[in-house]
């Protein structure tokens, strides 16, 4: 899989309240959640972004609450990928479970707002077309690769548990 998009850069410890505030958690509608994505932190972002754009963050992205509404909002807003130096664990599993691509690499520090990136998941390569550089990441462990390949946890469960019954 390949994605290409423009970067929106965020800092360290972006929490799930920043991504989607609790006042919007009285709905499960992904499109509605998307309209409030990152509203507290960057109110203009959702209006200005283009589908396929990439979020790049520092350390511990998605810390705080377990609300899956956070990766749902990011995915429904049209972001193709989140790259961060590190992810908080519940956010990471939620993203993988719902099929939102995430890449964990310390190279995220070098990426700047507005950079144009081309990401090749199979090769584990990020091409920074703006800075004319490239970064590699080690990829996911085999178990997570299997989950991702299935298209998320529920598809994996259906394949493994429900179809076999």
């Amino acid at each position: 899989m390949m994605v290409k998009g423009k970067v929106w850069k965020l800092g360290n410890h972006v929490n799930t309240d920043d991504i989607i505030a609790a006042r919007y958690l009285n709905t499960t509608d992904s499109q509605e959640l998307a309209t409030h994505c990152l509203e507290t932190l960057r109110p203009e972002l959702v209006q200005k972004m283009e589908p396929g754009d990439i979020l790049v963050a520092g350390e511990n992205f998605g810390c705080g609450s377990s609300r899956e509404h956070a990766p749902i909002a990011i995915k429904a807003a049209g972001f193709s990928l989140v790259i961060a130096v590190s992810f908080a664990r519940i956010f990471l599993r939620n993203a993988i479970n719902i099929g939102l691509p995430v890449v964990e690499t310390s190279e995220a520090k070098r990426i700047r707002e507005g950079d144009l990136l081309e990401v090749d998941f199979e090769a584990g390569m990020i091409k920074n077309l703006t800075q004319n550089s490239q970064y590699f990441w080690s990829g996911y462990p085999p178990f997570l690769q299997e989950l991702i390949k299935c298209g998320g946890l529920m598809k994996w469960v259906r394949k493994k548990y429900i179809k076999s019954e």
Partner: protein, 422 residues
């Protein structure tokens, strides 16, 4: 192996597990609430599931926006209620419901050695009883409701050893805030925080709940305390019979820890965490001038009976400042009832506090005490992120129940001894 590794090995039917290893483990209890449960049900139905793995091991606790704050939250709770009737899983109606992480232990639903997952980040609270308990997402819960299993990466364990004597006014909240300030909000990311040492050995169960509850605020997968006499005494008060499995719930002497720190508790004063991170903890004395508008005493962190007892003991020495509103939220119906019987509610009402029914409510800016622009709160809750309790330009300081009560009386951040021994 550590206590966490032993529980994970037992639940994945292996002799041994190693940090970093991926396992599929069986779960003893699956939890979701009114925010996360509806999404889980949606995913459950989307793949055409028609039965749950074991109705007795699934609990739905509508605690976040209840009693329902608006039509939409009422619809979410209805979804849980309908699902519970159809699949015979446990659902707690208003009148029985309480904040999930106070309610489930109180009902004896969590026991040492169990593996508990919950679509709520503070599920780690149950580590206080020697269970492996961790917060997951809604999709995880949907999958676990079908399969009775969860995928996990075995965490490495970070050992914390607490020595010395706790000063007066220093409780579990202060110990955990201080600890998080030492290691940062991602200081234990993906890891287990194992709390040990003489201070923990004598720490009351409610304070242990508070400590394990906030392990997530350091990024941890779980917090855990080996079960001992204090744990067993508590368990005997809530359940008639239980079996500890695996039986040996102590970390082996040759356990491998990724990190270890020793904490001298003698030095720790009552703490207060400055917004916007729980790791910004300082001694209360450094902030005693800060003016406040609201005080919230409650939550899954500090809404248990002993928390209310501590707060009430301070309110015996003064009334709520005229420019402050103080909201007391007993975490469960039982805590509320005990607080009535012990006269605590009398003390709170006389002091000018308002009593809320059990709810997460203001902790996450849901309802029952949301802040306006520029307002400042002292809360016994667990997060002080930007806009956590309301407007993005409002502020939350985290503290223990006595500090919160003293601050309510003074109208500014205050040390309890300013009120109790003036």
């Amino acid at each position: 192996m550590t206590i966490t590794e032993k529980i994970l090995a037992h639940h994945s039917h292996q002799e041994k597990v190693t940090p970093g290893e991926f396992i599929e483990a069986s779960v003893d209890l699956v939890l979701a609430n009114d925010v996360t449960g509806p999404l889980a049900i949606q995913e459950f139905e989307k793949i055409g599931a028609t039965k749950v793995f074991n109705p007795a091991k699934i609990v739905l606790v509508p605690d976040h926006f209840t009693p329902c704050k608006d039509i939409r939250s009422a619809e979410l709770v209805k979804k849980l209620r309908d699902f519970s009737r159809r699949y015979q899983v446990r659902f707690f109606e208003i009148g029985q419901v309480g904040i999930e992480h106070a309610l489930l232990p109180e009902l004896g639903l969590v026991q040492p050695g169990q593996l508990v997952i919950g679509a709520d980040s503070h599920t780690c609270t149950y580590g206080a009883l020697g269970a492996f308990a961790t917060g997951v997402g809604s999709t995880d819960v949907a999958a676990a409701m079908i399969t009775g299993r969860i995928w996990l990466r075995v965490p490495a364990t970070f050992k914390f050893t607490y020595h010395g004597q706790r000063q007066r006014w220093v409780g579990g909240k202060d110990l955990i805030l201080y600890t998080i300030s030492r290691i940062g909000v991602d200081g234990a990311r993906y890891q287990t925080m194992e709390f040990t040492g003489p201070v923990i050995d004598s720490l009351p169960i409610d304070d242990r709940f508070t400590m394990a509850n906030m392990a997530i605020e350091a990024g941890a997968k779980n917090g855990i305390i080996a079960p001992d006499e204090i744990t067993l005494t508590y368990l005997k008060s809530v359940i008639t019979a239980f079996k500890m499995e695996p039986a040996d719930l102590r970390s082996d002497l040759d356990s491998i820890y990724c990190q270890q720190i020793e904490i001298d508790v003698n030095q720790i004063e009552p703490q207060i965490a400055v917004p916007p991170l729980p790791s910004n903890s300082r001694s209360v004395r450094e902030l005693t001038g800060t003016r406040i508008d609201q005080v919230v005493i409650g939550s899954c962190t500090n809404g248990r009976l002993s928390d209310l007892e501590k707060a009430a003991a301070v309110f015996l020495h003064g009334k709520v400042h005229p420019e402050v509103r103080t909201i007391i939220i007993p975490a469960t119906q039982n805590v509320y009832y005990q607080a009535v019987k012990k006269g605590l509610i009398d003390t709170f009402l006389t002091a000018g506090c308002v009593i809320s029914p059990p709810t997460c409510g203001p902790c996450l800016g849901g309802h029952m005490g949301v802040l306006a622009k520029g307002e400042v709160a002292v809360a016994t809750t667990n997060r002080n992120f930007v806009g956590r309790m309301g407007h993005p330009e409002s502020l939350v300081y985290l503290a223990n129940p006595e500090v919160a009560a003293a601050s309510a009386i003074k109208g500014r951040i205050a040390h309890p001894e300013e009120v109790v021994n003036p």
